[in-house]
Structure formats: structure tokens, C-alpha cells
């Protein structure tokens, strides 16, 4: 590998969908500035470099690493340790690395029940020999070793210390560009980076604060999924219209993209500053605006949210206070062999 005097940049994906990489490419011509300011040493989606190349680098030699994805397998966590060791600034990039995101919803189920469903139970699976993934396999070419699954998906900062958090599923491109600007300026001594552990590339307040819709005193008689609402008032708060919008607890920074398009905020920017448990804040907010004092009627209204854990913790389960369901925690020993 060639080296030059430019600061080094890396981006890595663990358990994620790849959307974060696309979001970085979406900064368009700004990418040329990244190339100008940094030497890209490791970025599996964009260039060819091997793990052994990273291992060969001196410790702390990568200036900036954007790490996206949660810790689903032992390999994810191994890479997290490697990137931590090699990087000066490690950013938990995107919702998966920050708070588990959609892959974190697997924390509602045990590994065994997920394997059972996916390898035999689901209606579209045909697996008469009941073949299951193995961590070790004797192939004619030699012994193969696959990383074990963790029984509970963890966030990046639950495995290694993280310098900054950049939320979003994916982070907005203009926010990424702003963060890269900031780091470049800091490298040239023209700016300072925020304190360690800070959330960057996002606001401090809630999506509601960025949302242009009108808010009145809320009184909800019924919750409905957005696709079942006949006509959405374009100017009125979605929650007031009975659409379960997660804006009240979600960090600002996206510009209220979804509510602007008449879709409820799903909560991908994670908890607003000072919110300890995202789902608790939402449960509190939703329950407060239900317009009924009768337990039976309240029950009927709550039936409009058929999957409360999925509603209130869609992106945040792995980082919530409980982190995983009891089913998923059982047998948790940090590293679970699945057979």
C-alpha cells in the first residue's frame, strides 16, 4: 500500500444495510474534497484493501474512521476493536452503530427462534434436511470458521469506546458534508472539534421543532396507520390526526423530512438531547394525549398501536435501558455458538 503525508480516512460497515455508504457518496462533489484532504486507506464498499492492510498500519494512524453498523457477530466486534486501535477519531456513524437501528429489533427475539423461523418456519422456506448455519465446517479444502452470532445485538459504543456519534438512518448528506468540513478545518487548525462523546451532525432539540405543521392541544381518540388515513391535513400535526408520529422524542437534524412528506417520523435520528430512554419518552408523550379516562376505551385506542415495542423502539432498542427482551437475554454470555 502506498502512503503519503495526508491524514488517513477509513469507513467500515458491520451489521448494516449499506445505506450509510450511499449517504456518504451522496455528498456529490464534496467527495473530491474528502479525497483532497484525506488518503482513503480502508473502505470496503469503495476500494480494494484487506483487513491485513489495516492490521499492518501503526496504531492510531487513521485520523478519521466512520464506522456504521451494529455488533451482530463476533467478526463485527473484532473489526470494531481493530478500527478503534488504528483510529484517532472513531465515529459511530448512522443509527445502527449509534443505537442498533432496524437490526437491533432482532433483540426482541432469541437467536434460536430467529434461526428456527428463517431456516424452517417461514412460509417461503423449503429446507427438508433442516440445514442450519454452522460456525465450523470441514470442507475438502480445509476447515472453515464462521463468526458466531451474538444473542443480543450491541451498539458500537457497547463494545469499544467511541469519540462521536452521528445519528440518522442514514445521516443526511448535508450533515455529513458539514461534519467533514469541520474535521478538515480542525486538521488545519481553523476550528475545534466538540468534546468527546458528543453527537455531531444533528441538532439538540426534537423533530417537532423543525416541523412546520401546526400544533394545538392534542386530543387523540384513535391511532391509525398513515396508509389507512383517508385524507391527511397537510398543515396539521400528524400526531393530532392520530398518526403515531415519533417526532416528540426524536433528535432534530433531518429537517423534518418525513412529516413534510405527510409520513410520520419513524425516529431514525434517535433520542433528542437529554432523553435517557427514547421509548419511555414516547410512551409518556403518546399516553398523555389520549383523550379518555376509561380503562376499556383507553385499551381500544391503544389497539391502534399493535406493536408498541416496534413503534417506540424501532431504531433504539439496542441502546434502550432494557436493550433486549428477556427471551433474547436468556443464555447471554457475550458470545453464543448457535449449535
Amino acid at each position: 500500500m502506498t502512503t503519503n503525508a495526508k491524514p488517513k480516512f477509513a469507513m467500515y460497515w458491520a451489521s448494516s444495510c449499506g445505506g450509510c455508504e450511499i449517504a456518504v457518496l451522496n455528498i456529490h462533489e464534496k467527495l473530491l474534497e474528502v479525497d483532497e484532504a484525506f488518503e482513503v486507506v480502508f473502505w470496503p464498499v469503495a476500494m480494494d484493501a484487506k483487513v491485513k492492510d489495516v492490521e499492518a498500519l501503526p496504531d492510531q494512524s487513521i485520523t478519521l474512521t466512520l464506522f456504521n453498523g451494529g455488533m451482530r457477530t463476533a467478526e463485527n466486534a473484532e473489526m470494531a476493536h481493530l478500527m478503534r486501535r488504528k483510529s484517532q477519531i472513531l465515529v459511530a456513524f448512522g443509527s445502527c452503530a449509534c443505537e442498533g437501528c432496524i437490526p437491533g429489533l432482532a433483540n426482541l427475539s432469541s437467536i434460536q427462534s430467529m434461526l428456527d423461523y428463517n431456516y424452517s418456519g417461514s412460509p417461503t422456506t423449503e429446507n427438508p434436511q433442516d440445514i442450519r448455519p454452522q460456525t465450523n465446517w470441514e470442507a475438502p479444502e480445509g476447515k472453515l470458521h464462521l463468526p458466531a452470532l451474538f444473542s443480543v445485538l450491541q451498539t458500537l459504543d457497547q463494545v469499544v469506546p467511541v469519540d462521536y456519534f452521528m445519528p440518522g438512518c442514514p445521516p443526511e448528506s448535508k450533515q455529513i458534508a458539514a461534519v467533514i468540513d469541520l474535521v478538515v478545518q480542525a486538521l488545519h487548525g481553523q476550528g475545534t472539534l466538540p468534546g468527546r462523546g458528543a453527537t455531531i451532525g444533528a441538532g439538540l432539540s426534537t423533530v417537532c421543532d423543525e416541523c412546520p405543521r401546526t400544533r394545538n392541544a392534542k386530543q387523540i381518540h384513535k391511532f391509525m396507520r398513515v396508509q389507512n388515513v383517508q385524507e391527511i391535513d397537510p398543515a396539521l400535526c400528524l400526531l393530532e390526526q392520530g398518526i403515531p408520529c415519533n417526532g416528540p422524542a426524536t433528535r432534530s437534524g433531518c429537517g423534518a423530512l418525513c412529516p413534510n412528506a405527510s409520513a410520520q417520523c419513524a425516529g431514525c435520528y434517535g433520542p433528542a438531547e437529554g432523553v435517557i430512554d427514547y421509548g419511555a419518552r414516547l410512551m409518556s408523550a403518546f399516553a398523555s394525549v389520549i383523550d379518555s379516562n376509561d380503562p376499556v376505551e383507553i385499551g381500544h385506542i391503544l389497539d391502534g398501536i399493535p406493536d408498541p415495542a416496534g413503534q417506540f423502539y424501532r431504531f433504539n432498542l439496542a441502546k434502550s435501558l432494557l436493550r433486549a427482551s428477556k427471551q433474547a437475554w436468556i443464555g447471554y454470555d457475550g458470545r453464543q455458538e448457535d449449535k
Binding site: 476447515k143 379516562n293 380503562p295 435501558l321 427482551s325 427471551q327
Partner: protein
């Protein structure tokens, strides 16, 4: 009064949230009248059951509580007019979420008790302790597992050698 249930080795920890105006006075009343209930419950006084953030309940479970009892003024009697209804709605919503998380509904209870209902308060405390004793320990691991995974467990080459 002796704990009534069979499993004597397990002593559940119950966190009780009482409102300043009714249910905490009910607990006071129980004390003044020398009514007895087991020591498994730890009472925390809040100004109103409407002050109960779902966060408090989650924090209690994640920190090792086996059960949580929320108590407030009877409907219509709230010192802050109708905040106990808010507590009711939060409680009903929380129960649904907690069930998905594998926390049995019996571990979280909402009880109304007026300042004069020391006896009712005592009964309800005994009831939830008995019920949780039957459910067994919760032992939520999140609080204990917060420390990071040591790097050594990812030494796959050593693991392979060990297996060989």
C-alpha cells in the same frame, strides 16, 4: 405478617412509587396503625402518580427490581385534578410494551389508595410481593452487562487451535 409463599429462598425486590397526597399517606397510615407488610418493597415518594415517567419503571427493572408498584389517588381525587388518569394511560401502554420485552404483566401494577386506606395499601403490597415471588426473579442483565466485551474473546485463531 409472614410472607405467605412457598419459595422462601427468593426475596423479590419491589419498587413502590407513591404519590405525595394520597397513597404515601396511606402508607403512613398503615405505619401509624401498626399494620404489617413484608420489607420487600422500597417506597419512593413522587408528587403525583402523573409524575411517573415510564423511564422510572424501565430504570427500576433494568437495575434489578423484580416488580414495580405504582400507586395514586382514586380517580376523581387527584390533587392535580386529573394527572392520575395520565398515570393510568401510561401504565396501560407500558404494560403492553413490557410484555413484548418479556416482562410479565404481574410485575407492574397500578393501585389507587386514598390517605385513609392504610389497610388496602398493606393488602396490595402483600399481593404484589406474593405474585412476583411466584413469577420468580427477573434478574435483568442489561445493568450488569454494561462493561465492554474484552478484545481477547475475539481471538478466533486461538479458538480454532483450541478446537483442533
Amino acid at each position: 405478617m409472614e410472607p405467605t409463599k412457598t419459595n422462601s429462598s427468593f426475596e423479590p425486590v419491589i419498587i413502590g412509587f407513591t404519590c405525595n397526597w394520597c397513597s404515601y399517606r396511606a402508607a403512613d397510615m398503615a405505619g401509624m396503625a401498626r399494620m404489617k407488610y413484608p420489607t420487600n418493597i422500597r417506597l419512593i415518594r413522587v408528587m403525583c402518580s402523573g409524575r411517573m415517567d415510564p423511564l422510572f419503571v424501565l430504570k427500576a427493572f433494568a437495575s434489578g427490581a423484580d416488580g414495580v408498584l405504582i400507586t395514586g389517588c382514586h380517580p376523581g381525587d387527584c390533587h392535580y385534578i386529573e394527572q392520575n388518569y395520565k398515570a393510568l394511560r401510561r401504565f396501560l401502554l407500558m404494560q403492553r410494551t413490557l410484555e413484548q420485552m418479556g416482562i410479565e404483566p404481574g410485575r407492574l401494577k397500578l393501585v389507587w389508595a386514598s390517605a385513609s386506606e392504610g389497610a388496602k395499601f398493606t393488602d396490595e403490597v402483600i399481593k404484589i410481593i406474593d405474585e412476583v415471588r411466584l413469577l420468580g426473579p427477573l434478574n435483568w442483565p442489561a445493568g450488569q452487562e454494561m462493561e465492554m466485551l474484552p478484545e481477547s474473546i475475539f481471538d478466533t485463531e486461538a479458538a480454532m487451535e483450541e478446537e483442533a
